[in-house]
Amino acid sequence: MGLLYALFFFLWWAVMHVIVIHRFGFSWQTALIDSTINNTLLLILSFAMVMALHYYTPSRSKSLMLFGWSIILSMACAVLSKLVLSKIYEGDNAYVVICHKSFLIRFCIAFLMIGWVMLFSWITNTMKSKQESEARKTDAEKLLREAELTGLRQQLQPHFLFNSLNSISALAGSKPEEARKMIQQLSDFLRGTLKKDDQQMLSLQEELKHLQLYLDIEKVRFGHRLSTEINANEQSMSLLLPPLLLQPIVENAIKFGLYDTTGDVTIQITTKTENSDLLISITNPFDIETAQPKGTGFGLKSVQRRLYLLFFRNDLLQTNINQNLFTTTVIIPQQPSAANT
């Protein structure tokens, strides 16, 4: 587009050149040849300038050099056209005089043209490289964020896997049918964990289905000690949340519940809608006396970080202690645009 404009201005200037020479009393033919030769040279030299700048953009401190280039090229243009034109019209004295007298004007105009082309392409180049580096930066940031999100999502505890395999190993001897069932559950759970993509929000219903697999496996491991209560509000089932967000919270709740008390443990999961946002609470019993004063464990910290990266908010994860119950509440905003920005 810029090139077309430039060509248009060149053409316009070439026409003006013809008219001016004709007004000095020369024939249209002479005026046309003069303009063609002079302006073709100008065009070629300007193009050379653009090409040079395309391959080498001087830094701000060296921009004075460009000024020098413009003077040299303009001088070349004026000298060359004078030589060529006086050669063609060797006998025509009136023309040769004009040709000599117009040398300074030709130089000044050539300088104006080349200088303008130079400035134009220098600015375009600088802007372009700036844009490119900015785009690279955003790309790098985006990649980093995605990598971090992937990392946060895939913090599946290897102990969970090894302990589950140990349970399967135990069942294989005494209850092979149950072992087979548990292998199925574990496979479904792992498959679900591996293929999830952060960009795609899931409905609560799907997420709870996945969570149920996890809970079923844990129930086989811990036997009667562990039970769960899921109170999911009908409306909230279709609301969206990032995949695998709840699993680390539930994992944390189970760990706290089972390792902090010796009795039976009930994990409660309650969902509801509030101000059109999705609210999920996960409650586990714990012993306030002996709980390690670590505050939110690593599991919860990574959930918080993930929520921040997805929604740019730090207030979406809350924990609350009420007597011997520890409750973690997550709020999932439901504006879909927020998740994609």
Partner: protein, 247 residues
């Protein structure tokens, strides 16, 4: 007959150990326990020859449970965590089985135990299970003690001071003291040095408990605690205390 006890919080994990043990007519499982509290009772009662012990268990870990037992026992750890292996072998474990383990691997551990059991006196190789189990001390956040049949978990912050008492130490809290078979050096190394100071050969103090340091005569100082207890400070102890307090 060889007496064994299985301690693991997961029923299926216990059942696989039991299943593997059934092959061996010599070994009898005296009791299965779901946590360290039951574990301590079972060990006291049965005095087993070998204990199969999980590490991550409710309330107290397998290591903490071992600290509560006053006599030497042989331990084979069974856990899904590989990061405790060094600590386990420092505690002179017979073997360390990573879950899930095969029958071959399990039998190898048993064989190892039998070899150790037959050739050397178990006492000599397992007494150290209770001693210097901490070559690389990591900071402790709680201490598990046993008063009679009661097991108590004391958060480190609740400890006022520790006093040497023969082979034991007395750990003083607001509820009096508890005995534990550990050395003063052990506590000096595993407690946060900014919080606890060894002020005397026989005393480690929590600095928040100090209200006043009194000079009795030249080079003789005592620390007055909030509870009114007076603790003598040795010469070097006094210097160390001043350094920590920034005096």
């Amino acid at each position: 007959m060889i007496k064994s006890v299985i301690i693991d919080d997961e029923p299926l994990a216990r059942s696989i150990v039991k299943e593997y043990l059934q092959e061996d007519a010599e070994i009898e499982v005296m009791q299965e326990c779901g946590d360290g509290f039951e574990g301590v009772k079972a060990i006291m009662q049965h005095k087993p020859d070998v204990v199969f012990l999980d590490i991550q268990m409710p309330k107290i870990t397998g290591f903490e449970m071992l600290e509560l037992i006053d006599f030497p026992i042989s331990v084979i750890f069974t856990t899904a965590y590989d990061e405790y292996a060094i600590k386990a072998f420092e505690a002179h474990a017979v073997d360390y089985l990573l879950k899930p383990f095969s029958k071959e691997r399990f039998n190898k551990a048993l064989k190892k135990w039998k070899e150790q059991h037959n050739t050397t006196d178990t006492k000599s190789n397992t007494t150290s299970l209770l001693e210097d189990g901490q070559k690389q001390p990591e900071e402790q956040s709680r201490v598990v003690v046993k008063n009679g049949s009661n097991i108590k978990i004391i958060p480190v912050g609740d400890i006022h001071y520790i006093e040497a008492y023969d082979d034991y130490v007395k750990i003083f809290t607001k509820d009096g003291y508890s005995l534990k078979k550990k050395t003063m050096n052990y506590f000096e190394q595993t407690f946060n040095a900014q919080q606890f100071v060894r002020v005397h050969r026989s005393y480690i103090l929590q600095i928040q408990q100090i209200t006043k340091i009194e000079t009795l005569e030249k080079d003789s100082h005592i620390a007055l605690l909030k509870t009114g207890v007076k603790i003598p400070l040795s010469k070097t102890g006094y210097v160390k205390l001043k350094a920590v307090l920034g005096l």
